[in-house]
């Protein structure tokens, strides 16, 4: 049970620090955006930062760190697997460009 064995968070002070960190990452994202990188590079940066942010949120805010490891090991690989498999659609997205019907 939760109250018994796990989810004893480290206290609000720590969470405030995490919150400040997350806001900093958002700041970095905005700064990177306005350095006008090529879209592909920007995407890589933003995605990396977003995953970092999301990871922090899952880990600390959603208390996954304070649950049994089994929970994280069940949920995250499943999600990662599904998202990885979805990546198989990209080659067809590029087909939309290279094989577009030239009418109008």
């Amino acid at each position: 049970m939760t109250t018994g064995e796990s989810a004893q968070g480290p206290g609000m002070k720590f969470f405030v620090a995490v919150w400040v960190g997350l806001m900093c990452i958002v700041g970095i994202e905005v700064i990177i955006t306005f350095r006008h990188l090529p879209p592909r590079e920007l995407l890589v940066w933003l995605l990396a930062l977003a995953f970092l942010e999301a990871g922090i949120a899952v880990w600390y805010f959603m208390h996954l760190k304070y649950e049994r490891a089994a929970l994280a090991w069940s949920l995250l690989p499943a999600l990662a697997f599904v998202v990885f498999m979805m990546d198989h659609i990209w080659p067809d997205a590029f087909r939309l460009l290279s094989m577009r019907l030239l009418s109008n």
Partner: protein, 209 residues
């Protein structure tokens, strides 16, 4: 009544097998829902990416002011609401009823504020001529479709979350809900925050002029 109540309150207490994760069913179900919902959001974001790759005439209309500034404000509000949610969970766990209620209300209010800012943002876009099927800049019409459907889906989650938080806050004060329910609501609320961490960079920042 008997067994169910025993499971509910004192856990498995020797009558049931231990849950492999050692968490209440509600929390487990919420985690599963979060994963499922994450897949839903991924599907929509993948669809957005797919169409964006396939559209050579994609529009990038956003400027620092007002859109991104507003977006930073919304991010700040939503992140802060996560913080108040954490405070609510802490308070509830410690049994501080009124503090818990207060923090829950604060979270719901911040959520409502987020939704309001979002709607203002939508209103501005609609005034500029953006529609689900229309691009006032003449580029790909998918911009409006993707923007409104992704942020709309997120907004729906926020509004649903605000309602749920309000119900739980009142219910908690009256004794209908316990600390676990608050924690479960917290997981959902943080998830809504987490989704925004992808929506903001992918839908807003990637579309800056």
């Amino acid at each position: 009544m008997s067994q169910v109540d025993i499971t509910a309150e004192s856990g498995h207490a020797g009558l049931m097998e231990d849950s492999p994760y050692g968490i209440p069913s509600g929390k487990l179900a919420m985690w599963c829902f979060v994963i499922s919902d994450a897949v839903t959001f991924s599907a929509v974001l993948f669809a957005y990416g797919y169409l964006r790759i396939g559209s050579p005439d994609w529009s990038t209309p956003f400027q620092f002011s007002p859109t991104i500034l507003n977006g930073i404000g919304m991010t700040f509000i939503l992140l802060s609401s996560s913080l108040t949610m954490l405070a609510a969970v802490e308070a509830v766990k410690a049994g501080r009823k009124s503090a818990g209620f207060g923090w829950l209300c604060a979270t719901a209010l911040l959520g409502a504020l987020f939704a309001a800012l979002h709607l203002v943002e939508w209103g501005r876009m609609i005034d500029e001529g953006w529609r689900l099927f229309q691009n006032p800049l003449g580029g790909s019409v998918h911009f409006g479709a993707a923007f409104f459907s992704i942020t709309g889906l997120h907004l729906l989650h926020v509004v649903g979350g605000v309602c749920a938080l309000a119900v739980i806050a009142v219910g908690y004060r009256r004794g209908g809900y316990n600390s676990i329910d608050v924690e479960v609501a917290g997981i959902y609320w943080h998830f809504v925050d987490l989704v925004w961490m992808f929506v903001f960079p992918l839908v807003y920042l990637m579309n800056v002029q």
